[in-house]
Symmetry: C2
Subunit: 233 residues, 2 copies
């Protein structure tokens, strides 16, 4: 592995607030990816066919592969992965408990829509980071191959029974609502992340108008994903 | 990928019985590995600590990586993976239903002892195959890293409460019994595998005495694994 922190990054990391925020962000992304892995493996278990089982198992493995580089970076920053991930265990687990899918299709939509929302959000925040951290986070958010798979399976299900479309559209809206309220809870509890978004003397930040634009970009992307699934957002 | 069948292999594959037996064996190994992946991912979900969760997630990913080369080879032999794996779904799922672990330690022991038994068994059968198939199967049976992990966790648990040793020893014996009765069921149902062990005009086979020696080797390995765990076999 090359040096974990690039030159520009090394300067930014002199600020303990910045360092804490990066550790927090890496911890959140890593715990989220770990949860996504567990969910995909769980979906593989309940897959209706062997082909689906293998497809989901492969996605789960790719997803897990995203976790380790994040844990390595957290350690390079002098923090144990357990300490960095732990603050996010409760809110993420609460999100998953509140959005337990009642069937295979709901599980697929949750993987696609939920991970899509999370990825959009982290990509927005990553724009405020040093290049090394930004690249690491963006790489870890790469689609594990589920987008095409989920779109195909959900569209086929709606084709064979158009009534499921209504139920699944409601499900997508519920996921969006729960994800937003969870994100808000995390931001309120983790001062470091809020400070990161607000910027610093030598770092650009987001004013309220920019924050509003960020949320409309995230909402638009969500609507686009729902449309790809053939569902009303 | 190089040609799927080596030169010697290509001759052996002219025999449709041999070909069918190899497809059967690859199907059994692949379905077993897929089940092992699902079980490890499930154990990751119920891990008592984040470190254990990450360790098991990693093992699950490595385990899944063993499945794909097997599926590729099945396809190279002109059979769809679904067709090759399907006959093993029922007996393997029945084994797992009968040996559902009641806690984390039982799950770990099942992963170690169960996969160890399966690997020993397949390695014995692989000795009767062409070199290409043999190597593929032996590679796919490589330890996903759980041996050391499980031995460490089980020994620690017994140290802190010696009474769990008795319960876990019983569990190990039950796993062995269920595995043997499942293997017998599979052998009885799949003529091709029985024919493979019996050999052919130009292929060595196993007589009853050799079969007996094979089972004592498997039993000895099982006892060695139980001893490593600190359990009476």
């Amino acid at each position: 592995m090359s040096a974990p922190l690039g030159e520009a990054g090394a300067v930014a990391f002199d600020d303990p607030g910045y360092r804490a925020a990066v550790v927090d962000l890496l911890g959140a992304v890593a715990y989220g990816e770990l949860s996504a892995f567990e969910r995909l493996a769980e979906d593989a278990r309940s897959a209706p066919s062997l082909a689906d089982k293998v497809a989901l198992g492969k996605m789960a493995s790719i997803q897990f592969g995203h976790v380790e580089p994040l844990l390595d970076r957290i350690e390079a920053l002098g923090v144990t992965p357990v300490a960095a991930l732990d603050p996010f265990r409760k809110p993420f687990d609460a999100f998953h408990a509140k959005t337990a899918p009642s069937d295979w299709l709901e599980g697929l939509i949750k993987a696609y829509v939920g991970d899509g929302l999370a990825a959009d959000f982290y990509r927005e925040i990553a724009a405020f980071l040093d290049a090394g951290t930004r690249e690491l986070i963006i790489e870890s958010l790469a689609d594990a191959g589920h987008a095409d798979f989920v779109v195909d399976r959900v569209r086929r299900a709606i084709e064979s029974d158009p009534r499921v479309g209504g139920r699944l559209a409601l499900w997508g809206r519920r996921l969006m609502g729960e994800a937003l309220s969870q994100a808000q809870r995390v931001a309120a509890e983790r001062d470091s992340l809020a400070a990161l978004l607000a910027g610093g003397v030598d770092r650009p930040g987001m004013d309220l108008a920019a924050l509003g634009r960020m949320f409309s970009r995230i909402t638009e992307n969500h609507a686009r994903r729902m449309a790809e699934l053939g569902l009303a957002a």
